[in-house]
């Protein structure tokens, strides 16, 4: 039964090796999906290329469906799966900062590293910008810690908040995703920018 690491009682270094392998796989998949191109990523904001939302939404739903099925068949213990904790203020402000950085830099942190790995110069600058941000956050933490830790909601799950069964919530989410994919492709046609090449 999963999750693998907590049942097998692996030593910490082996956990890190597993994490490294998964990370390499993730980076490789990002690169192969074309996410190391800042044009593709920025396309999400301007509407001419909506691969980002399609890929990430599909990945989230596949993981959701997969984990629920594995839990149903007794292969995964959902109680031992980490649920990220929700700090409302931090999530809102952090989301805005992240979005602004995303459109200015053309990458999100993962894709930035993936682009750096194939040798993009702008990704190098993006990477140092990210480090500078982390440094700034750490240095100003005493000033913003009330904000960072405020409005703590704990590890909430959306379906529990709305009182929906997991199955219904998943179905609604998939339906919403289907609509979103459709709208996204309409947007791609409407905002098409033939002048922007899809080459790396």
């Amino acid at each position: 039964m999963g999750p693998i690491t907590s049942i097998a009682g692996f030593p910490a270094w082996l956990d890190l090796v597993i994490a490294l392998l998964i990370g390499i796989g993730f980076g490789f998949a990002l690169e192969q999906a074309g996410f190391s191109s800042s044009r593709k990523l920025a396309g999400m904001f301007y509407g001419y290329d909506t691969t980002v939302i399609k890929v990430f939404f599909t990945a989230a739903i596949v993981a959701l469906v997969g984990s629920q099925f594995m839990s149903y068949f007794g292969l995964l213990n959902m109680n031992k799966v980490f649920v990220n904790e929700y700090y409302v203020g931090a999530a809102v402000i952090g989301g805005v900062i992240m979005g602004a950085g995303f459109i200015m830099g053309g990458y999100c942190p993962g894709t930035g590293l993936s682009a750096l790995a194939i040798g993009k110069i702008d990704a190098l600058f993006f990477f140092f910008g990210g480090l500078a941000g982390a440094f700034l956050f750490a240095e100003t933490y005493p000033m913003i810690q009330n904000l960072a830790n405020g409005n703590f909601k704990g590890p909430v799950k959306i379906n529990e908040v709305f009182g929906l069964s997991p199955g219904l919530f998943i179905f609604l989410l998939i339906a919403a995703a289907a609509c979103m994919f459709w709208v996204a492709e309409l947007a791609e046609k409407k905002f098409a920018r033939p002048d922007i090449s899809s080459e790396l």
Binding site: N77, N79, F82, G167, F171, A177, F181
Partner: protein, 203 residues
């Protein structure tokens, strides 16, 4: 069909299946009713108060005492080292939080035999191993451990050991339960099972 339409339809099919399968399936009983009854009724799956007392004084860390009474009753008195999982709570949340550990023996107790028996039956049915009850519950504990005195004329070595164990268990019980209530509350809070304690993620 475009790639989008294919992927969307596959996902929608899975979503449709999700609507109809009971995803709370992990809470449904796995063992066959006959098997559950055999296990529960087997004498070796219940411990008497003396056995629990012996585990207590030897500080056996492979034993988890689960108190199914209400928090008020638990605050009033509890067997040292036990954790409070009120019966209503036991039914509501997934007991896998504390039962999913094959190296531990889980001993349920309540005031009498009723709730602990139900809890043991459910836990066995859910497929958890090493689930015991303390026979007679706290009532039996009071009778055998707290209030028993040797009444015969000549004490055998075995009886002597038994009463020594009872006396030590009694002392421990009294020590823990006569703590000032602030200390007691802090102690109880430190022993609560909390699903939020899992760590991980990007932090």
């Amino acid at each position: 069909m475009t790639a989008r339409q294919i992927i969307t339809s596959i996902l929608l099919i899975f979503g449709g299946i999700m609507l109809f399968i009971p995803l709370s399936g992990k809470y449904s009983l796995r063992e066959k009713p006959g098997q559950v009854l055999t296990t529960v009724l087997d004498e070796s799956n219940s411990l008497n108060a003396d056995q629990v007392a012996r585990f207590l004084v030897t500080e056996d860390s492979t034993l988890l005492l689960i108190d199914l009474r209400t928090p008020e009753e638990f605050r009033e008195c509890n067997i040292p080292g036990s954790v409070n999982v009120p019966y209503a709570e036991f039914l509501k949340q997934d007991p896998g939080l504390y039962l999913d550990d094959e190296g531990m023996r889980h001993v349920f107790y309540s005031n009498g035999d009723l709730k602990s028996g139900y809890a043991q039956t459910l836990a066995v049915g859910l497929g958890y191993k090493n689930c015991f009850v303390m026979k007679g519950g706290l009532n039996a504990w009071y009778v055998t451990i707290m209030n028993s005195e040797f009444a015969g004329n000549k004490i055998s070595a075995r009886e002597n050991a038994l009463f020594a164990t009872r006396l030590r268990a009694r002392t421990l019980f009294n020590e823990v339960n006569s703590l000032p209530s602030s200390l007691k509350l802090a102690y109880i809070a430190s022993k609560r099972f909390d699903p939020k304690k899992l760590d991980g993620g990007c932090e």
